[in-house]
């Protein structure tokens, strides 16, 4: 049974970022001493971790969502009211007009639930017709309300890349992570996206799926999972998509809560540390990404954003954006970063090594 309220609304201690950081650094809970992530980086002369190039501009336009997934690192849900205003969106547009980024990555919550979502996309296209815009669409939002039914057409019109979560090809495992009925609605939404041209081999309309493990384990190889998802979704439902991104669950927020409640926390952290991959560490996404919060504050990644670890720079807000300074900042790391360096590595675009 999925939670109906966010941790924040439940007034759970884990709804507070400071408490999450305390847990992550509590050796007693781990039952053993684990190396500090920063020390791992030091071993390969990567500390302090520096950006390679600011290339991906990732905006979290709000924490409101129609789903309450068990693993959500945002602790998103219908009860979250933190939503980016049009004024902050305009500040983001001003930055995009001045500086060149290859990708604009829109996430949430359900980004489409921000009332200014469509206006925002239209305005961005006016200042940068070519930037690759990703929308992290949870699929079910398309069916949640008649006002969202035309989203596939809107995405197509503005040539958005759609990236959607689907943790399994079965209803039971998908629903156990994302809520009752989510698999069925996700399948319907994927068919609607295919219908307008998304996910087809010869189409420029990219439809990529995100695989997050529905439990306390790491993802298997991305290529094998993609092959299996393509086989099953095509044969069972006639669905096509472009690529599958395998993403490791980061032990913060609701996923950290799940690990603690299920008694899997210590073994999961052990798995992450054991699987530390120096090549993945060199390619972590925070080196080419900048994350903007719903209130305009700047972070190294969406996970640091949820832990309220603002960038280590004077330029901490979109209204005070300093490209040079941010390009040379030191990236803030903590123990949750082991999630991005385990095995083949993990980023918002899947494996990195």
């Amino acid at each position: 049974m999925n939670p109906v309220k966010s941790l924040k609304a439940q007034k759970s201690e884990l709804g507070e970022s400071a408490f999450q950081l305390k847990v992550l650094n509590d050796e007693h809970r781990l039952g053993q001493k684990i190396s500090l992530f920063r020390d791992k980086l030091k071993e390969q002369s990567l500390f302090p971790l520096k950006p390679t190039k600011l290339d991906i501009f990732q905006i979290n336009v709000g924490k409101m969502c129609n789903q309450v997934c068990k693993h959500c690192h945002v602790d998103a849900g219908p009860d979250r009211k933190e939503i980016m205003t049009q004024e902050t969106m305009q500040q983001c547009i001003d930055v995009l007009a001045k500086h060149k980024f290859s990708t604009l990555d829109l996430t949430g919550g359900a980004p489409e639930m921000n009332n200014n979502f469509r206006w925002f996309i239209e305005e961005i296209r006016k200042v940068d017709a070519d930037i690759n815009i990703i929308v992290r669409c949870n699929l079910t939002i398309i069916l949640a309300n008649p006002k969202y039914h035309d989203l596939p057409d809107f995405f197509r019109k503005h040539r958005l890349e759609v990236v959607s979560s689907l943790p399994a090809t079965s209803a039971s495992r998908t629903d156990s992570q994302r809520g009752d009925g989510v698999f069925e609605d996700s399948i319907k939404a994927l068919l609607m996206l295919n219908e307008v041209g998304y996910g087809k081999e010869d189409s420029d309309l990219k439809l990529n799926l995100v695989y997050n493990p529905a439990g306390a384990f790491l993802p298997a190889g991305q290529a094998g999972l993609e092959k299996e998802f393509k086989r099953v979704l095509s044969t069972k439902f006639g669905i096509v998509f472009n690529s599958l991104f395998a993403i490791t669950n980061i032990p913060i927020s609701r996923y950290l809560d799940y690990l603690l409640v299920s008694g899997n926390y210590a073994s999961y952290m052990d798995k992450l540390v054991e699987a530390y991959n120096p090549v993945a560490a060199e390619n972590v996404m925070c080196r080419n990404t900048l994350s903007i919060g719903w209130d305009g504050y700047l972070y190294d990644c969406d996970f640091n954003q949820m832990l309220e670890l603002k960038v280590d720079a004077k330029s901490k807000h979109i209204s005070d954006f300093d490209f040079e300074e941010l390009s040379n900042r030191s990236i803030i790391v903590n123990q949750h970063c082991y999630g991005c360096t385990a095995g083949a590595g993990s980023s918002c675009g899947g494996e990195v090594a």
Binding site: R173, G215, L218, A220, G221, G224, L225, E228
Partner: protein
């Protein structure tokens, strides 16, 4: 030793070479790793076979490892359970096929 099987021992498997016969361990793990790579069979198919064998061998370490591995590789609960049924059916068949010997012997010694 308080118990012969401890889940904490599973991660130590990869370090058996530290106790002795290092080269043999190294060769074994190389062979093991190569065996499970994609080939004529996919990694996923091999993992399901390993899950069935783990039950046949009644190895708690292997059941632990290959339950997680098959889930990681996207196998469904039905696929996992069917793999175990294959192992169980084989195990039952192995017993039952010996009844042919029993029948032969019975025919030999009776009128």
């Amino acid at each position: 030793m308080s118990s012969y099987y401890n889940s904490e021992d599973l991660p130590k498997f990869g370090k058996i070479g530290e106790f002795g016969a290092k080269d043999l361990a190294k060769d074994f793990f190389k062979y093991y790793g190569e065996t499970f790579k994609d080939g004529a069979l996919t990694e996923r198919e091999k993992s399901l076979i390993a899950l069935a064998v783990a039950h046949t061998m009644q190895c708690p370490y292997c059941i632990d490892a290959y339950t997680t591995d098959t889930i990681q590789k996207g196998c469904t609960q039905d696929e996992m359970m069917e793999a175990v049924h294959v192992a169980a059916a084989l195990a039952a068949g192995v017993k039952l096929v010996h009844s042919v010997q029993m029948i032969n012997k019975a025919k030999e010694v009776t009128m």
